[in-house]
């Protein structure tokens, strides 16, 4: 059947197909050379020991308790960051989508502004804000709210704060894009049928914005899984995420294979998350291409 269709293609159409392939070739070559190739190499390496093929690197997932606790902590932090980003991001996106005139660009501009500052700089900024003699603690002590400094950084809390701040735009933007496409008429229709503001929001707007919720959540969740700088700088050594496990393995076992195996497992988990999410909404919408 397919063969027949190809045969029926006119010469112009075939030329066009060749043209498309030709135009895509540089991009495909770059992806193949810089992404697919190294990934295959990494996968191969994760099965290599000093004496050839080995499952040792994967066996450590069962024998080394640090592996499991790192994965658990990483997923827990990713979950907390995602929920917090959703709670903070949804109202922002909502107001931006509903407001008129110059407000949407101003609101989105404020969301994007920190985006243009280096992640490293922002992580240090949080350190200055949150440390024992930092701005937040000093202010709270001087106003008499507390009399002993709160421990806000060098722990999981500090890590979550900074990661949340860095990733918030990834939640707001897909939400805004989805909300913008919800026709205002649907809400009016809901209201004309006697629905109050809350009822209309809950039964009309919220369900229609769900694709944005899923898209933003998946992005934030998956990006948090690979975070390195914020837990390293603000985690106080106790926050030990998968990315740090990778670097520790290179130091400790002097084997790229040990680090590769962790990366492979994390990669598979990310694929799994995308697969599950795409069962709920099409993949193209998660990536914001449609």
């Amino acid at each position: 059947m397919t063969k027949n269709v190809t045969n029926f293609l006119s010469p112009e159409e075939r030329r066009e197909r060749r043209m498309i392939l030709l135009l895509l070739a540089p991009a495909l070559a770059v992806v193949g050379l810089l992404l697919i190739g190294p990934l295959i190499w990494m996968g191969w390496q994760s099965f290599q020991g000093p004496d050839g093929f080995t499952l040792d690197h994967y066996a450590r997932f069962l024998s080394d308790t640090v592996y499991l606790s790192s994965f658990v902590q990483t997923f827990r932090i990713a979950f907390v960051v995602t929920i917090a980003a959703l709670l903070l991001g949804y109202p922002i996106a909502y107001v931006a989508a509903k407001s008129q005139g110059i407000w949407p660009p101003i609101i989105l501009g404020m969301v994007l502004l920190p985006f243009w500052t280096s992640v490293l700089v922002r992580a240090y900024a949080w350190l200055i804000l949150l440390q024992r003699r930092g701005l937040v603690n000093t202010m709270l002590i001087e106003t008499g709210v507390i009399d002993k400094p709160l421990i806000l950084v060098n722990n999981e809390f500090g890590t979550v704060m900074a990661t949340l701040h860095i990733l918030l735009p990834f939640m707001v933007l897909p939400l805004y894009a989805t909300m913008k496409k919800i026709p205002a008429e649907l809400e009016m229709a809901g209201a004309s049928l006697g629905g109050g503001g809350w009822l209309v929001f809950r039964s009309v707007f919220l369900p229609l914005s769900l694709p944005g919720v899923i898209a933003g959540s998946v992005l934030v969740f998956v990006l948090t899984l690979g975070f390195y700088i914020t837990p390293e700088l603000l985690g106080g050594g106790r926050t030990f995420l998968v990315s740090m496990l990778v670097s520790r393995n290179i130091e400790l076992y002097n084997e790229w294979g040990a680090a590769s195996s962790i990366s492979m497992v994390l990669l598979l988990l990310v694929f799994l998350i995308f697969r599950l999410a795409s069962m709920l909404i099409p993949f193209e919408r998660i990536m914001g291409t449609r």
Binding site: T65, I151, G237, I250, E251, L252
Partner: protein
């Protein structure tokens, strides 16, 4: 610039290059970069060139070990001499990646105490993991021993330790009453048990030297185990910080030569020159790290005042424990490192 000057410059450059090329007396030297490598350039590398004519090309790598592995695996290394933690030289030597030192041709090295060298490497510069504290928190009666660091009743306040077992386990054993002379071989179980005691009081497990300095400077931690050079830099900036060498853990990096190095013979000559007491004595002039060769203190080039600030001057060294790179590169040492992450995380 006049054309005559240009001509002179060009000729002398050609001459220099020509001479260098003819004698091929050059090596590639690798250290860890930053202010530390800059200080070495003035203290050691330039004087060696002046004395021997060996042209020193430099490279730097914060962690040389993976590069050592890759370069020697190909059989055609580009580096000659590396300045790296002693452990790298030792395990590299055992795995056939490092050349043995030719001691017969190295009188300065051969004259050094045996504990500061092995078949593959020689101690090049010293630093120490010391107990530093905030003077605002403790006044003039700051903590003076690891037992004090562990004493949260007498010395309340926040504490920070390095997120690494090296030196931390040694400190725990001293806090538990082990005499400095009896530290090695280490009772790892005992050390971890002692660490569990202080763990709830540690607010930060630091990972980089810069971070330890920041913790002290910002008053985030009242007591920190940190490298002496980092602490003195914070003190020089005027922060209310002090430290003691008492029970410090004395550590050193070593020089070693890659297996099959392109300029093997010159590399050995370079090491002999770099380790000579006269040149080693330049270290304290440029940085707060001590010369690897203790004979440098007998040259008269280091003032008594400066020696008192150095981690390995005879008086200060006597108060400290010499870190055993041999123990840390043994299977027990490797196991202790594997155990560390689980300890910190739980």
């Amino acid at each position: 610039m006049t054309s005559k000057l240009k001509f002179t410059a060009a000729t002398s450059l050609t001459l220099c290059l020509g001479v260098g090329w003819l004698h091929a007396a050059e090596i590639t030297f690798v250290s860890q970069g930053g202010a530390y490598q800059e200080a070495q350039t003035k203290a050691i590398l330039d004087p060696v060139t002046e004395k021997t004519g060996i042209v020193v090309k430099q490279d730097s790598s914060p962690d040389a070990w993976p590069v050592i592995r890759t370069q020697t695996a190909t059989g055609k290394p580009i580096w000659d001499v590396i300045d790296t933690p002693t452990k790298d030289c030792m395990r590299g030597g055992e795995q056939g990646m490092i050349e043995k030192l030719d001691l017969a041709a190295m009188p300065s090295v051969a004259a050094m105490p045996a504990e500061l060298r092995n078949d593959y490497s020689v101690a090049y510069e010293f630093y120490s993991s010391v107990l530093a504290y905030n003077k605002d928190a403790y006044g003039e009666n700051g903590p003076q021993s690891w037992a004090d660091f562990w004493d949260v009743e007498k010395f309340p306040g926040t504490r920070a330790l390095r997120n690494h077992p090296l030196a931390t386990l040694e400190a725990a054993l001293m806090a538990d009453g082990v005499a400095p002379a009896d530290i090695y071989p280490m009772d790892v179980d005992r050390a971890f048990k002692k660490l569990e005691e202080i763990k709830p009081h540690i607010s930060v497990w630091w990972t980089s030297g810069a971070q330890s300095a920041q913790l002290l400077a910002d008053g985030e931690a009242d007591m920190v185990m940190a490298w002496n050079g980092r602490v003195s830099a914070v003190m020089a900036e005027g922060a209310p910080v002090d430290f003691t060498y008492n029970q410090g853990i004395l550590q050193y990096t070593s020089l070693c030569v890659l297996k099959g190095a392109p300029n093997l013979e010159t590399a050995m000559k370079f090491i002999e020159a770099a380790m000579s007491p006269e040149i080693q004595a330049n270290f304290p002039e440029y940085i707060d790290y001590g010369p690897g060769n203790p004979a440098a203190y007998e040259t008269g080039k280091i003032s008594a005042e400066r020696a008192a600030q150095m981690p390995n001057s005879p008086e200060n060294a006597a108060k400290q424990v010499l870190n055993s790179a041999a123990w840390w590169s043994s299977p027990e040492g490797e196991a202790a490192q594997e155990r560390w992450a689980a300890f910190v995380q739980q």
